[in-house]
Amino acid sequence: MISRTQLQRLLARQRRNDRIFQIVAAIGVLIALITLGALIVDALIDGVPRLSWKFLTSYLSRFPAEAGIFAALLGSMYVIALTALISVPLGVGAAIYLEEYTNRSSRISRIIEINVANLAGVPSIIYGILGLGLFVRIMRLDKSLLAGALTLALLVLPIVIISAREAIRSVPPSIREAAYALGASRWQAISHHVLPMAFPGILTGVILAISRAVGETAPLIMIGALMFVTHPPEGLLKPFTVLPIQIYNWVDRPQKEFLTNAAAGIVVLLAVTLLLNALAIFLRNRYQTQYS
C-alpha cells in the first residue's frame, strides 16, 4: 500500500519530469530556430542592400560593384533541370520496381533497400570523387554541364527512390486489387492507378531532393567546376558555374566588397531553396488525399 502523501509525491515528481522534458524539447526547437534565424538575418543584413535587378542580370566581373550572378543563376537552373530529368525517371523506375515487382521480404530486395538507405547518407564529396573519375575522366565529359548534372543526379537518386517508394507504398492495395479484378495487367494497374495516385508524393520528394541539389557545392568543386565563367552554359558539354560555387569563390577574395556580393548571392540561393520548398509543401497540401 502507498499512502496518500507518497502518491502525491510520486505524482509531483512525474509532473516535474514532464515539465523538464518539455523544457528540454523546447530548447531543442529554440536552438534550431535561433541558428536559422541568425543565419538568415545575418545574410539579409549584409546582402539585401546589394540586391538589385542589375546584380541578378549582370555577368561575373573582377570588380565587386559590377559583378552579377546571371551566369550562376542560369547555370543553377540548367543544372537543376538536367538533374531532375536524369534522376526522376531512374529514381521512380527503381522505386516502382522495388515496390511493385519484387517480393518485399526477399533477401535481395532487403539488401537493396539497406544499400539505398546507406547511399542517401554518403557524404556528397564522395559523389564528387565518383563523378570526377567516371564522368569527367572515363566518359570524357570534361568539366561540363552534363558531368555536373550527372554527378548531382547520382547524389539525389537515393532520396528520390526512397521518397517515391514511400509515396507508392501509401497507395492502398485495394486500388491495385480492384484494377486486377477488372482485368488490368500489372503495368496497367501501375500506370493507370498507382502512379497517378502516388504522383503528388513523388513530386514532393523530387522537389525536396532538387532543393538539396541546388545548394550542393562540394561534389561540383571536386569535378573541377570552381572556375571563372562569365557566361551561362551554352550547351550540355560546355563549362558552367552555379550559385553555391559563385558564393564560395567570392568568399575567397581578399576584397571585402566581394563578401557583400557573397551575402547577396546567399540571399538569392536561400530564396530559390525556400521557393522550391514552398512549392513542395503547396503541392503536398493541394493533392493530398486521405484513404479510409
Partner: protein, 390 residues
C-alpha cells in the same frame, strides 16, 4: 485511348466532387485533353486535380522525349572551337581573371574559363591536354615535363609578372623586427616539426609563447617555391602548420591571432595592409643590399628582396596555340599584362620584356628556360630577359 479514359475516370472518382470534376466526368476524353491543353496555355497548372498532371505527362511524353533528344543532339554538336580553358595557380589567377574579363569584353564571341587548382593540379590537367593554358607560380617540374612528353604536349613558357612571398605577423606582435633566412629555416625545416614550438626558441629575447604557423598548402606553387628558398629543397617542410592553397585563409589566420606567423603572396598583404604587419627578411648576402629588406613593389622589382621574390608564368600548349582564339587570348594577355598586373597588385615586368615574351610566343619557342627543374631561386628580370634572348 482506353488507357487515358481509365485514368480520367479514376481521377474524377477519387477527387472531391467539385463542379469542375463533375463537369470533367461528363466530357469525353478528347474534349478534356483539348481543354487541358488550353488550360496549360493559360498557366492553370496549379488548378489541376491529381491525375490531370499525369494525363498531361502521358499526352506530351513523346513530344518531351523528342525535344530532349533534339536538344541533346543540338548541344552535343555545338562547336567547342571558341573556348579557351585555363586552370592552375591561385597566385596567378587574379591576373588571368582580369585578362579573361577584358578579353571577353573586346571579343564577345570568345569564351574563357579560368579554374583554380593550384600550380601542381593545373599542370596535371595541362599535361593530359585538358586545358589550353595553365597558370603557374613556379617553373615546370621534371615529373610534369615527363607527363607532357608522354601525352605529346609541347609547352611555351611565358613569364607574366613578378610576385613576392610576404612573411607577416599580427600588428599586435611588437617583438619581431626582422627575420633572417636561417631563422625561417630553423622554423620551417622538417626537423622543426613538434620541436620548435615557442617564439623564444628562434631568438631568446622573444616571448616564450607558442608560435603558430600559416603557410601555402602542398598543392600550390608557393609551397614548392618557399620550401626550396628557405629549406633548400622543394617540399622539405614541417607538416604541423595551417596549410591552405587559399591565401585568404592564411590572411585570416594571421589577423586573428597575435602569435601566428604567415607566409603568402605579396598581393594579399597589399589588399589587407591594415590588419597585418610585414616582416623584413635578411638573406645574409651583401650583393642584393645589406640587412633586412621588406618586400614592396620596389624591392621585388629591383630584386633586392631575396630569396622570396619570383617570376610567375603562364604555360601555353603549342597545339592549342594554333587555334585562333587561344592565340588571340595569349597575345592579348601579353599586350595587356602591364596594366592588368598593376591593377591586381602584382609587379609587372618592364615593357620591353613583354615585347620579347610576345615574340617568344609568336615564334612558338617551346621548353622551359629553367631546364624543367622546378623552383629556381634568385631569378631577376635580367635572367628572364636572357632566357628569352637565347
Amino acid at each position: 485511348m482506353p488507357g487515358l479514359q481509365g485514368v480520367l475516370v479514376h481521377a474524377v472518382q477519387d477527387a472531391p466532387p467539385t463542379d469542375a470534376s463533375l463537369g470533367l466526368y461528363k466530357m469525353n476524353c478528347q474534349t478534356v485533353l483539348r481543354i487541358l491543353g488550353i488550360k496549360h496555355l493559360f498557366g492553370g497548372i496549379f488548378r489541376w486535380k491529381r491525375g490531370e498532371w499525369f494525363i498531361m505527362f502521358m499526352k506530351f511524353r513523346w513530344f518531351g522525349t523528342l525535344a530532349l533528344l533534339l536538344s541533346v543532339f543540338y548541344s552535343g554538336c555545338g562547336d567547342d572551337s571558341l573556348l579557351v580553358e585555363v586552370d592552375g595557380s591561385s597566385t596567378v589567377y587574379p591576373i588571368t581573371e582580369a585578362v579573361a574579363e577584358e578579353f571577353q569584353k573586346e571579343n564577345p564571341t570568345f569564351r574563357v574559363t579560368v579554374g583554380i587548382s593550384g600550380t601542381g593540379g593545373g599542370f596535371k590537367q595541362f599535361g593530359r591536354g585538358e586545358t589550353d593554358v595553365t597558370n603557374a607560380s613556379r617553373p615546370i617540374k621534371p615529373s610534369e615535363v615527363e607527363l607532357c612528353k608522354k601525352n605529346g604536349i609541347e609547352y611555351i613558357e611565358l613569364p607574366v609578372a613578378f610576385d613576392g612571398l610576404a612573411i607577416t605577423v599580427n600588428p599586435e606582435n611588437d617583438w619581431v623586427d626582422y627575420m633572417t633566412v636561417a631563422e625561417l629555416k630553423k622554423l620551417w625545416e622538417p626537423e622543426a616539426q613538434g620541436k620548435i614550438l615557442y617564439w623564444n626558441q628562434i631568438r631568446p629575447d622573444w616571448p616564450s609563447k607558442k608560435i603558430s604557423l600559416a603557410g601555402p598548402g602542398p598543392d600550390s606553387g608557393s609551397y614548392d617555391y618557399f620550401t626550396k628558398a628557405v629549406c633548400g629543397e622543394e617540399g622539405a617542410s614541417r607538416g604541423d602548420f595551417i596549410a591552405s592553397e587559399n591565401d585568404n585563409v592564411l590572411v585570416q589566420a594571421v589577423a586573428r591571432d597575435d602569435y601566428t606567423l604567415g607566409v603568402f603572396g605579396l598581393a594579399y598583404y597589399e589588399a589587407n595592409r591594415e590588419i597585418l604587419k610585414l616582416v623584413p627578411i635578411d638573406d645574409g648576402k651583401m650583393d642584393n643590399g645589406d640587412g633586412a629588406i621588406a618586400p614592396s613593389l620596389e624591392t621585388v622589382k629591383n630584386a633586392t628582396y631575396q630569396p622570396l621574390s619570383r617570376p610567375i608564368f603562364i604555360y601555353v600548349s603549342k597545339q592549342s596555340a594554333d587555334r585562333p582564339e587561344v592565340e588571340k587570348f595569349v597575345e592579348f594577355y601579353l599586350q595587356q599584362a602591364k596594366t592588368l598586373t598593376e591593377e591586381a597588385e602584382y609587379i609587372p615586368l618592364p615593357e620591353e620584356t613583354y615585347q620579347l615574351i610576345l615574340r617568344r610566343f609568336q615564334n612558338r619557342v617551346t621548353g622551359s628556360v629553367f631546364g624543367g627543374k622546378g623552383s629556381t631561386l634568385g631569378v631577376s628580370i635580367d635572367d628572364v630577359l636572357r632566357g628569352d634572348i637565347n
